[in-house]
């Protein structure tokens, strides 16, 4: 169950990015960092992550677009998308899930809750 997964983290807040990077690497995952949507797209061109931790409010290309792109691209659509956003209203959560995300967590998040969620999403990924 402990295979190395590839995790892509997308957030325009450097500190948040750093904290998520730490958390993921501690679990032994291979981490890719994108500081904004454009960088995320660039990374997605060559890598197929198993999980994407995705901020929503970002300039230029926001998280919704990234999520839709991932879910509509054959090559990428098996990646799990976890929205991490300060937008926490019920409507926001619903919108996020409608975009095709596999999970949605609001900021600030509990690192423990995040860790569990990540494990859960990556387990779903294991195909027979």
């Amino acid at each position: 169950m402990n295979q190395t997964s590839k995790v892509l983290i997308v957030d325009d807040e450097p500190n948040i990015l750093l904290s998520l990077d730490l958390l993921m690497r501690k679990e032994g995952h291979e981490v890719f960092i994108a500081r904004n949507g454009i960088e995320a797209l660039e990374i997605l061109e060559s890598k197929v992550p198993d999980l994407v931790l995705l901020d929503i409010m970002m300039p230029d290309v926001d998280g919704y677009q990234i999520c839709r792109y991932i879910k509509s691209t054959e090559r990428l659509k098996h990646a799990r998308v976890l929205f991490l956003s300060a937008k926490g209203k019920e409507t926001d959560i619903r919108i996020g899930m409608e975009m095709g995300a596999d999970a949605y967590m609001t900021k600030p998040f509990s690192t423990r809750a995040l860790g569990l969620k990540v494990k859960e999403l990556l387990l779903l990924d294991l195909r027979p």
Partner: protein, 919 residues
Amino acid sequence: MMNPWLVTGLSVLYIGVLFLLAWQSKRWKFFSRPEVRAWIYPLSMGVYCTAWTFYGSVGKASRDGLEFLAVFIGPTLTAPLWWIVLRKMIRISQVQRTSTIADFISSRYGKSVSVASIVTLMCFLGIIPYIALQLKAISESFNLITGGGLGSGKNDFFHNTALYVALFMAAFTILFGARKTENYEKHNGIVVAVAFESVIKLLAFLTAGIVLIYGIFGGLSPLFTSAMEFPEVRKNLVLPEQGGMGEWFWVSSLSALSIILLPRQFLLAVVENDEEQHVRNAMWVFPTYLFLINLFVLPLAIAGMLTFQAGTVDPDYFILQLPLHFNMPALAILVFIGGISAATSMIIVETMALSTMFTNHLLFPVLVGVESIKDRIAPHVSAIGLWSRRLAIIAVLALSYLYYLNLNKVYSLVSIGLISFVSVAQFGPALLGGIFWKKGTRAGALSGILTGFTFWIYTLMLPTIVSHYDWGKEWMDYGLFGQAWLRPNSLLGLEGFSPVAHGFFWSLLFNLLAYIVVSLNTDQDVLEKNQSEVFVDIFQYSAVYERTVVLKGKASLPDLEGLLSRFFGEERSRQVIRLFARKHQIEISDPGVPADHRIIAYTERLLAGVMGSASARMMVSSIVAEEEIRLDEVVQILKESQQILSTNRELVRKSSELKSALEELASANFRLKQHDHLKDDFLSTVTHELRTPITSIRAFTEILFDNPDIEMEDRQHYLGIVIKETERLSRLISQVLDLERYESGRQKLSLTRITPKELVQDAMEAMDQLYREKGVQIRLELDSETTELVCDQDKILQVLLNLLSNALKFVEKDLGWIVIRGKKTEDAYHWEVEDNGKGISKEYQELIFEKFFQAQNQLTRKPKGTGLGLAICRRILELHGGTISVSSQPGKGSLFSFVLPDWNGAKDSNYLENPTETK
């Protein structure tokens, strides 16, 4: 006169070559090359030219001049139509997996057993005489070349030849036509052999023509010149009296129909076609072939008439008699072999077609239809089919032989052939109507065919059999019961036509009438309606055929598999079903659920390959509990499948459009974002902005808490982040509250008097450290720095600090400079803060004073500000009655300026908290 054993030996050798070709050609790469295959197809259609063409045409030419060409004009003129008609038939045939013409027609009219069996019977009646005349040609040519008499004298020998030929042909045909169980599989070997025979007969004919005409007679012109000198020859070169132009028309029409409707033609042109594009090739190759093989017919006829006394030699065999007469044994043998080619290819293919039709449409329906027999035969169906075909081949040849024995000498090769043509022409209305007219019904087809057939028997078939009996002669001269209008060769008083044209006219007229009238007055059942839709619109449906088959019955998958396994074996049946299900994404895991109707249709098709569609239908319906399905449901389903096709195409187009649209979205989005951002609810933006530093604080705190073993250096780093983010948070909260106060108008100014100098000093104190760190140069250009300004000191300081820290952010390290200017005018003090930083583009210059806006380049990190600074500055200046603005050019730095009006003697107390004295 040649040695009969030599001739026999050579013939057998030739047949051996054919055998080899048919058997081995599938292994030779040469025959799989597409260019070669493209030629094999039209050449195989050359089976149209039988011993009739080879021998009979010359005979006919000698009697009736150019009229022999009528049979070839028909196909030549209608060849351009093949692209539509023939191609449609091929497509239908492939989709429906029909193996014979009877199958095809019956399938169109609801897979009707009655139609199939009637068509089969008619083919037998019509074609057996045609086969008989091939036997006649072979044996007569054999007798001629070996010196046997032309008939009367050596009775036993004559008969024996034909018998041996018949037996031999039966054996050969069985070897090649009745080996495999699945008769829808293509018989590629036979096709190659037939194409080869077409080539041989053409070569033989052309060689004979060239050698005889140029060698013996000196060429075409000398030949014609000599011909003109003989009146009896000359008269035949003009268009003959009987029928005249009418005769040409009818015979051409007849042959145009036959080129498709003859069972052998249908088999080779439709069923054995493996590439529709070949039809294009055939459209010009075949007429060319006809042209070439007919090239020397007339010259040879003339040559024969010139050489032999009238009546001494049968003109049908001029082409053989001439080389014999001129002592050219090699040429004679070549001609003989050519004649064998012409005759044997016809015999083989027609016999195969007839035996298949017999098995599928006469035998199987009976076996499958009777309950008690059906279950017992199931495991042996393939064997039964095979043996039935073999026996049928023998039967066909036996019948042909018997017919041959009774052949009346009055009828030449050509006329027997034409009579056969008229018999298959009766399928014309039903078949052609079936593929172009949806309204044609089974009742209509049956009426048409039976009517036509009756006329055919009466006007053409019977006369050939009974005319040498007295009562027969009487019937022919005086009509049935002495009624003149019932004379078989001039019904209703129609005179002046040859028997063939006459018979063709009446039979086809009443056939067509019956077909149309009855069709218009009868209804189609569900299956017929389905089939008529699919047949007429085949090009639309062939891509989605699976969806078009309308069966509303329920059958369980195990039942279907069981049915199939009786014929194909358990393992193979299961595999085949599984493959099909996978291909069409049908769920088959649950055996309790009724099988998808597409699988039922597929099962039926598979069985059709073994036993014909009508019987297959019967077998499948016996295990399917059928439900009533309404006509409009049928049409609905068919229309839906068309809909699916076009929707599919739409989807493909749309998704590629979508991809390109997505790429454009990124750039378009940016422009939208500015305004979008502004329209955001202030509160939600604030909460978002507040939550961001809290997120980092919480995350790092938890990380540090959960991981005591983190390196000291990292711990310090992370704690530093926590501290910074806390500060950021506090700042943000203050600013938000501030701004909120400004917005709601609750903010009050607390006025003091202060000099610009003092203000700047305070500001510099705060920024000094930071400026030093970044190596930024500061310059002051303060005018009247000691004038007293009346303003809210803290707030104006706030403005200055904001501008200065912005400038700090955007200048380059060590290279940056900032200038603070102050200038007094009569009623205000003008401040300027200029820097040489990266500047602000025109678009942003308006927006930067908006709440939360932060001018940033995509690739830089988020600036550390809150985005509220300038918005607050603007508010502050507004409260003071002043303004703030910016002028800047990207890359050339920015110049912020704000104007502080003179409040000396301010009257308005709304904004004032408590006017105080100077500090």
